[in-house]
Symmetry: C2
Subunit: 356 residues, 2 copies
């Protein structure tokens, strides 16, 4: 088991050694740690290697000039200058919050960025300002539209954070696919099949093979099949892609660059890098903040009091699982599986630092 | 078969006879007709009776004072004064568009409203202004959160309309449940079962019985079950509910009033009427409008060129089915099933007008 401080310091050091400023290295480490603490290890230390390899391949800029290139009172477009995604994303959300402070709401579309970790981190930045936070991002294409076999979209997540008074905040943070890609990797490692409704084979037939992406298969959108509303998941995923990339001038759909160095940069591009979209809405642009937050308490209490189905012991509010994971991990520490530890030891050695 | 003009004039007359102003009656008729023309008959003439009965029960205000009660440069809260939903919704979207014109984006939360027809109509109002339009609404509770059997949410739709240059606009308009409630009614009338994944019985077991809502059952969220991501549908539906009702001060979740007169007004309320949420985003607050619209053409062309799965002949863009329905219905006319025609004849007789 590792402590927060040990991994935070290690991650900071990795990015310092890559050439990031102290400020940027700390931002990046904070987002990595937020993923680990909230129980989303799939976006935590396991990804350090991907960033390290992208850096070695010259595909990320460790000294970026992240800047506004277009704006209105309530909007901005930010160019991330090929930065580590966390750097462009954090700056973009800060701009959204500043805009909201003056205009009631702030909306920022960001281009020329890279993978940014967990979307929920940026949405939650709004909470301490008595604002609602929103974060979307596109991602490299693995997902087929309804009726198609072409990999056109990422698992394009949506995160929305809404503050309450005495209750913990409402925090939704979810991919617009039934499962995250990481679950396929886990099933593959265990030699297990997956349930139908997650992936299809190269001709579009339902598949339970977690390795199917390697043989021309694709992931399905939320809903799974047309009968169960996959076209709604396709709508959602498309909206995330358009807001993130067409608004900002990033690459959309099948042109989103891979977030790993072992996949080549695509020959064709329709914009710059990966795209994100951020929103901040000042509560008191709608209702006095205290009144709103009391209403949110009431909303949360009402939904928490829903009657559980037979065999279930309780009904959850979005954000509950992550908050409970954080409480547990704060006590128990962070576990790193041996294969990931080995990677980190190797990276540390290459950079002349220590990991044990 | 009926013509657009005949049904538009009839609907206008119905609402004039109820006491609406000419301006309001025409707005209401236009939204009813938009549903029919876009192939969503479930939100068209079949609903006239519901509004008529609500009016007779004194549950809608035909002479409302729809007004802003709170605002910031980019936001407003509108009180619908118990109006027919279309009247409050249209005014609210107009305000969102005005706000966007000045501040880049405009966001309006509306309370004290009623059922407003198809969400897509309001989102599409933004298109002619070179804006993106967004519309959400909550609705009377039929849907259970993941792990629950309590009917806490409506089928809470999301509509997003995005303009393109030479391509038709991208228009997504979908309930956050696998199916609309109307499909259950259709299966019931035909004496058919429905697929699993749409509804559950009163203990939370999967059900294929389309009448199950009458015996304590509930509808499921998009995703269907936890394994296939129903918690993501629950997140979406919750977000729509909170934006529509907590932002505006309307009733949320299980407190949303029924949109039919044969169900009693709830004893308990936590706000005023039904709630909606509207957004308008000026394209050129992000990108020069022409550049953006050309990119949207490219997005649409790229996705339309996705390879169809085996047995499918093409891949659709959100908005294609409704546009094609409209082309067909413009040629063929609007069909009204006999039972609905009988209702309209009776309503006409009661109001001293004609329907044949």
């Amino acid at each position: 088991m590792y402590t927060y401080d040990y991994l935070y310091q290690f991650t900071t050091n990795v990015f310092l050694k890559m050439g990031c400023s102290e400020h940027y290295a700390e931002i990046i480490a904070e987002v990595f740690m937020a993923a680990e603490m909230r129980g989303h290890a799939s976006h935590g230390m396991i990804r350090i290697k991907d960033y390290f390899e992208l850096w070695k391949a010259g595909r990320i800029n460790v000294r970026p000039d992240v800047r506004i290139v277009h704006e209105s009172p309530s909007t901005a477009v930010v160019d991330g200058d090929r930065s580590v995604g966390m750097v462009a994303a954090r700056k973009s959300m800060e701009i959204a919050i500043e805009k909201a402070d003056k205009a009631g709401t702030g909306w920022v579309a960001t281009r020329n960025s890279n993978h940014f970790g967990i979307a929920g981190y940026y949405a939650m930045m709004a909470l301490e300002h008595d604002m609602i936070g929103i974060c979307l991002t596109n991602a490299n294409p693995l997902v087929a539209p309804t009726f198609s076999i072409s990999r056109m979209m990422g698992t394009n997540p949506i995160a929305v954070a809404i503050p309450a008074q005495n209750q913990p905040p409402f925090v939704a943070d979810f991919a617009t696919t039934p499962i995250a890609r990481g679950k396929l990797a886990v099933a593959e490692k265990k030699g297990e099949k997956v349930a139908l409704g997650f992936v299809q084979d190269k001709s579009g037939k339902p598949s339970d093979d977690p390795t199917i992406l390697k043989s021309g298969g694709s992931m399905l959108t939320l809903g799974g099949d047309r009968l169960h509303g996959s076209h709604k998941g396709y709508c959602l995923s498309s909206i995330v892609d358009i807001f993130s990339a067409v608004f900002s001038g990033a690459n959309f759909g099948p042109f989103v660059p891979p977030s790993v160095a072992y996949l080549p940069v695509l020959e064709k591009k329709v914009g710059e890098g990966t795209g994100h979209f951020f929103g901040a809405m000042r509560i008191d642009a709608f209702q006095p903040a205290d009144e709103f937050k009391k209403k949110m308490d009431k909303w949360i209490e009402t939904f928490r009091a829903s009657i559980p189905a037979e065999g279930e012991d309780r009904v959850l509010i979005p954000g509950d699982p992550e908050r409970e994971a954080e409480e547990r991990i704060r006590k128990e520490g962070i576990s790193i599986v041996p294969a990931i530890k080995d990677d980190l030891v190797k990276i540390a050695a290459e950079l002349g630092i220590n990991f044990q």
